[in-house]
Symmetry: C2
Subunit: 203 residues, 2 copies
DNA sequence: GTCTATATCGGGATAGAC
DNA sequence: GTCTATCCCGATATAGAC
């Protein structure tokens, strides 16, 4: 359920801010820039968000809610970890792509290192742990080739940024193909794995 | 020759600014922050750099000079493109790692989209072309598996960011291993390819 | 080449009318 | 819930003494 808690006006602000943050960076985007792009005066923003930081925090939550929820629900599904990882990656990339909020680069913005965003960083770290766990499990099951699971998770997650680049972005299938060719012991299993991933039940 | 054109004082500013930019972001780092970390007063910066933007521009050039030069000199070496790409990747990752200037994340900072940094963006695009060319050639030679060369280049380049992450970063060998396993038709050739890459002559 | 002092501007945020 | 007007602060950059 995307942003159901936000009013239409707040959603417009979020969408507009996300685009500006992604292109120019968080600190380089002023609340006046956001307001102008939305078509209102600058103080109007503050009827929807108490502070500029709250806009960024909301965007991070919007971007991570689904990837976190998908990973959590896959945890209790009986299936090879490599299959679950594939499904998770596809869902997450597609979520970020479909989202009217341009989120991929927002999740790596350095401003998140500030204390104010400790809660948002915790969400990112939780997601890293979930991905790390899937890779660890895939290693035990023999599908994933020898790799430090933390390293593997980091490398998979940095690939998300390829969708956020200027000009023509890399598509989710291309990222999935690259990631799984790098991760699997036997990449020839990829089509079969892809098929199994598509049939996984997701609430 | 790293930063030979800069005075020792200017180098201290560059090193310090690079670290702060990488952690907090360019716009979120003030010239006062830089000066305080260097141990001088804020206006002292301006005896070495006419503007804050010039510091960022200098860092981008410092980070790209070597990768660009290595790629250019490899162009005229007679060797398989996959071997040259391997050597280029190792040199470039090591350069960024060894550099007292923390550069990986600086090369993707959104502020570079501003007109002021058109020249610096051009350098990045040139590097993307060089990598794309190596992948295209590797494809023709049969070493690289079917992939859009532009996509491949983008994915290889985003992996650089894995070295810049907070906490424990991913090491160059891990990135090389991941990238080439994803790129090669036959990853079992990787050790041999690595050996050949190490013996390539570099001026 | 570094200092103090300062000019100037833009940014985040609030007050209060409508 | 949006507007105008405004406050206050921090940021970049300059001037001029040492």
């Amino acid at each position: 359920m995307p942003a159901s808690q936000w009013s239409p006006s707040a959603e417009r602000i979020l969408r507009t801010a996300a685009r500006l943050f992604a292109v120019h960076g968080y600190s380089a985007t002023s609340t006046r820039d956001i307001a102008a792009a939305v078509g209102v005066q600058q103080p109007a923003i503050y009827k929807h968000f108490a502070a500029k930081d709250d806009i960024l925090a909301a965007l991070v939550k919007l971007g991570l809610e689904r990837p976190l929820a998908v990973a959590a629900s896959l945890e209790v599904v009986a299936a090879p970890a490599a299959v679950k990882l594939h499904r998770w990656l596809r869902e997450s990339l597609q979520h970020l792509l479909d989202s009217p909020y341009v989120l991929a680069s927002i999740l790596t913005t350095p401003e998140l290192e500030r204390d104010r965003f400790a809660a948002e960083r915790a969400l990112i770290e939780q997601l890293e742990r979930q991905v790390t766990d899937m890779i660890t499990q895939g290693l035990r099951e023999g599908d994933v080739r020898p790799i430090n699971p933390v390293t593997g998770a980091r490398l998979v997650l940095v690939l998300f940024d390829a969708m956020a680049l200027p000009e023509f972005a890399v598509s989710p299938p291309e990222i999935i193909d690259f990631a799984f060719t790098a991760l699997l012991n036997d990449p020839s299993h990829l089509p079969e794995l892809q098929h199994q991933a598509d049939s996984l039940p997701l609430p």
